[in-house]
Every structure is written in structure tokens, then in C-alpha cells.
């Protein structure tokens, strides 16, 4: 036993050692700011528009958040390592058209499996280029995005596939509670957030991700295999994008190679607004959940306020730049 571990049993010291449950840490960690912003947005739209604050519309907000929210979980993992995934929605779309095309033959389980394989493989492509080839994530994922945008059209001949299988649209269904439907897709999104919050804050895997994002040099010196951590993150993100693809097929039962054009940036916006630093090592998926809701509430609320969807995009753009500026400011204030 090493000296430090040998003395674990010693008396508690008055140095703030007291334990608190992990979920409380995950919740209170860095989400207070984003949470306040979310509440503010909800209050503003509730008072200024007529139909925003209703059970049905708030349930709709959740439905509208599911796909981007799930993508944003994968995006969070990547951003925590100081990377960025510009291709996340493109990978999801590729997965969904693969599912849609194979499902035409009738074998939906095979279609679903093929979709997972494709997104995981594409994650592995990102991961190996970033880790083994040490290429900047921005360039790698931009290249993958460009190739996939064309690739999805080539694969489908620019056609889209209607989805008829109940399995493939299952995530858009669910139990009705108090007049609104809680879909399985929404449950999957929340469940995945909880699972990842646990994995990031309570396991070695998570600590390694934070360490690699925070100071890759220190990570290497303490024997962390930085390349393996990076590769793993992109692969897990690919797996998460497959779930997003399944959710997307439920929400709009068409596998469209040109679908979800703004989801790449929306997911990055959600991550950044949720308090995860683009410089890596800080943040988490709980914040991303809140960030996703902020993005959706803004779009949904502006629609209710009768504002053109093009202005909504402008608003989202302003929001993400603001969030990055705040990130930058806080980073330089506490820089080494």
C-alpha cells in the first residue's frame, strides 16, 4: 500500500472533506447560471405570449429538445476533451438514412443494428484521426461533415425514405401523464443524461476525460493514455448519435438525407450555453440538458411571439457567441 492509501482510515479533518451525494454535486455544480437563464426565458415567454405556458406546449418543448439534446450529450463528451464535433448531426443523419433504406426491405432490427454500426464507425473515424493522427478535431469533423453531407445524398440518391415500422418510431410514443405524452425518446434523453452525469463525475473514465481536456500534458505524465481516452470519447459519441437517429425517426417518420440542417450548431450551442468550456475540462451533461432546453425554449417562444424563424437563427447565433465570450472571460480571469 502506498502511504496515502494506507492512512485513509484516519480521522476526518476539518478541510471540507464532507461527502455529498453525487447527484447533488452534478446538479449544483455549474448549472446554476444556465438554470437561471432558462427560468428567465420561460418567465419572459410566459408573460409576453399567450400560448407558451401550457402543458401541451411545454411537452412540445421537451419533444423538440430530444434529438438535439441527445446529440449534445455526445457533443459534451467531445468538448470536455477540448475538441469539437461539427459532424455530429451529419453522422446521425447518415445513421438514419442507413436505417431507413435497409428498413425498406422489412428487416427493421437489422436496419437499426446497421445504423448503430455506421454511427459508431464514423465516430471511430473521427476518433482515430484526432487521436492517432493528432489532427485538430475542428478540421477532422469539418471534413467528415462535408463528406457526409454529400455521402448521405449519394447513398440515398437524394431520396428520402418514409418510416412505417412501429419499432423505428417507438421512441415517439409513451405513457400519457396528466394529458401530455411522456415519450420513450424523452425518457431516453433524460436517462442518458443521468447515466453520463454519473459516468463523468463518479468513474475513472470520467475523471480521465476531464484530465485530458484540462491538461493533456499532466494526464500523460500521470500515465493516462491520452490517445485512447480521445478515441474512446468519439466512439461513445458515435453510439449516442445512433440513439439520436432512432429518436429522429420517431419525431419525423422520414429518413431524409437533408434533415436536421441546424442540429450540428444547435448541439454546440446547447453545450456551450450549458456551461461546458470549449477549452476543455470544465462542464458536464447536466448543464447541457439545461442548455438544450434554453435553445428550444428560445426557438419555440419566438415562434409563439410571431417572430420569423430566420430571426430565431440569428438569436441562437448571438446566444452562442455570448456564451463563448463568457466562457473566455471566466477562463482568462482564473488562468494559470
Amino acid at each position: 500500500m502506498t502511504p496515502a492509501t494506507a492512512r485513509v482510515a484516519a480521522a476526518d479533518l476539518d478541510t471540507g472533506v464532507g461527502s455529498s451525494s453525487w447527484w447533488r454535486v452534478a446538479l449544483t455544480g455549474q448549472v446554476t447560471g444556465p438554470l437561471a437563464a432558462l427560468i428567465l426565458a420561460v418567465v419572459i415567454f410566459s408573460t409576453t405570449t399567450e400560448n407558451f405556458f401550457s402543458g401541451a406546449n411545454l411537452a412540445l418543448v421537451v419533444q423538440q429538445s430530444v434529438v438535439v439534446g441527445t446529440l449534445a450529450i455526445g457533443q459534451t463528451l467531445v468538448v470536455l476533451t477540448a475538441g469539437i464535433d461539427l459532424a455530429c448531426a451529419a453522422i446521425m443523419v447518415m445513421g438514419s438514412v442507413v436505417i431507413g433504406r435497409i428498413a425498406v426491405s422489412g428487416n427493421v432490427w437489422l436496419a437499426l443494428l446497421a445504423g448503430v454500426v455506421v454511427t459508431v464507425l464514423l465516430g471511430a473515424v473521427n476518433g482515430s484521426l484526432v487521436s492517432l493522427a493528432s489532427l485538430p478535431p475542428f478540421i477532422v469533423t469539418l471534413g467528415v461533415l462535408t463528406a457526409l453531407t454529400a455521402g448521405a445524398r449519394l447513398f440515398t440518391d437524394s431520396a428520402s425514405y418514409p418510416i412505417k415500422s412501429t419499432l423505428l418510431t417507438a421512441l415517439n410514443h409513451g405513457p400519457r401523464v396528466g394529458g401530455v405524452t411522456i415519450t420513450y425518446g424523452a425518457m431516453a434523453w433524460i436517462g442518458l443524461t443521468v447515466l453520463m452525469a454519473y459516468a463523468l463525475t463518479q468513474t475513472k473514465w470520467g475523471t480521465r476525460i476531464y484530465t485530458v481536456g484540462d491538461n493533456p500534458h499532466a494526464a500523460e505524465l500521470v500515465g493516462i493514455n491520452v490517445k485512447r481516452v480521445l478515441f474512446g470519447v468519439y466512439v461513445v459519441a458515435g453510439l449516442i448519435y445512433a440513439i439520436a437517429a432512432w429518436q429522429a425517426l420517431g419525431r419525423t417518420p422520414t429518413a431524409d438525407p437533408a434533415g436536421y440542417p441546424t442540429a450540428n450548431l444547435d448541439s454546440i450551442t446547447a453545450v456551450v450555453i450549458g456551461g461546458t468550456s470549449l477549452f476543455g475540462g470544465r462542464g458536464g451533461v447536466t448543464g447541457t440538458l439545461v442548455g438544450t432546453l434554453i435553445v428550444t425554449v428560445l426557438q419555440n417562444g419566438l415562434t409563439h411571439a410571431g417572430i420569423d424563424s430566420l430571426y430565431q437563427q440569428v438569436a441562437t447565433g448571438v446566444l452562442v457567441v455570448l456564451a463563448v465570450a463568457v466562457d473566455r472571460l471566466t477562463r482568462t480571469r482564473q488562468s494559470r
Binding site: 502506498t2 502511504p3 496515502a4 492509501t5 492512512r7 485513509v8 484516519a10 476526518d12 479533518l13 478541510t15 471540507g16 472533506v17 461527502s19 453525487w22 463518479q202 468513474t203 475513472k204 473514465w205 475523471t207 476531464y210 484530465t211 484540462d214 491538461n215 500534458h217 499532466a218 494526464a219 505524465l221 500521470v222 500515465g223 493516462i224 475540462g281 470544465r282 482564473q334 488562468s335 494559470r336
Partner: protein, 278 residues
Amino acid sequence: MTTQTVLQARGLSKRYGHVVAMADCDFDLRAGEILGVIGDNGAGKSTLIKALTGALVPDTGVIHLNGEPVSFRNPLEARRAGIETVYQELGVAPALEVSQNLFLGREQRRPGLRGSLFRQLDKPAMRRASAEHMADLGIRIQSIRQRVETLSGGQRQAVAVARVAAWATRLVVMDEPTAALGVRETHQVLDLILRVRDRGLPVVLISHDMPNVFQVADRIHIHRLGRRVALVNTGDVTMDDAVAVMTGARSPADVPQVQVSTPDEDASSPKGTDHGER
């Protein structure tokens, strides 16, 4: 104090293209001592330390740890052998808590199912152990849960030192641990180094600060042009003499040197091939 040799190297060399960073360099560290390593910028001190701690593989030469030949291929192997290093580039993760930094790469899981099935880290135990360890070393911080970036420069360096002291079983190496620190913080770190030595771990201290080295070191290794030119007892030489030897103003023969035990036959045979290039 015993005079047993803990770490010994003979004939180490390393070149980067045309640059000879280390040429036929010897090294000796005794049990229970603080060994100061001094030398000009670019003399090759960091290169030597990296070779001793597995951060680089020397082109030639042999290293003995407690009399056993060792050849580390990476820092992990050196750490498994009980050698811990604070590198010149600070190796802490600023966004993580103090206790997370102390356990960086060595996290403990909870006992029972929570650890084995749910892979949950034992954060309370790690915090408790960290707090106690910091208190042992006399390092005062407000909370073990503070992020390292919220600490002062001296406290951050103290965290880095505390980490190596916690895990080292054979020896501790520190490459300029007081660089960029203020006077008060420097003295805190020097105190810490003395405390680490007093707990029985020999310390290799690389520093440009002569008064500091003369204050805490038991012996001084003088490095010049990629090799050790002299090994002296701190009390036997003046600071001016040491600096003169270090810069080449005086010949090493002019100062009273320590006799090092002759290495084993196998330790002395593979000599470097790069001598005299400069």
C-alpha cells in the same frame, strides 16, 4: 544517516540530431539526502532528470536503482519503481479538485458492489486521505475540494510536491519547483522539501537559485555541457566556487570533490560514444 546509494547512473548520453543534450553523464544519489543539481540554462539538467525518470530513453548508459539495473521506457515504469517526479512544466490539472490532483491517474473505487459493479470512485476516502496527507506535510489550504486553479502559485506547486511525496517509495525528483514563485512561497516549498526528506525520501532538487540550493541541499551535483563536472558536499564549497565551476570559470579540479563509490564492472562498461563533441 546511511550512505547507501539509491540511484546511480554511469555514462548517460542523449542527442537530438546535432544537439548533444547529455554526454557521458554520471549521477549519484544517496539515501536520505537532498541532492541539489545546478547548471546553466541548456546545460542538460532536465534531460538528465528525464532520463532518470523514464521520460526519455538515453542513447547510452546504465542506471541502477538500489543496486539493481533498471531501464525505464516511460514515466509509468519509473513511477511503479517508486520514483516520483515534479517536472519543470507543472503537471497539475487546474480545473480539478486538490484531492483529484493528488490521486490523478490513481483513483480509488468504492469497496463492494458500488465500486466493482457501478465503478464508483471513492471520493470521500480520497478526500480524507488527501486532507490528512496535506496536513501531514503542513500545507494549508482552505478546502481539499478547492479547484487547483483557485490556489496561489505556491499552493499549486505544493499540491504537485504533495502528490509526488504521497506516492514515491524510493525517491523524489523536482525540476525547478520554485521557479516563478515569490520569496515567501519559495520558502514554503523549500520547507516542504525538507519535510519530505525528513520522512525518509531522498530528493533530487534541480534549481537555478543558488542560495536555495545551498540552504537545503546536502550535496550538490554541478552540471555543465551535458555532464556532471563535480559532485561536492554543500559545506565544502562556497557559492562563488560552485558558480565558477558551473560556468566554466574554474576547473572542477580546484574544488574538493566527493569520492563516489566505483560502480560495478557492468555499470561502467557501456560508455557514451558522444564525448567531446562540444
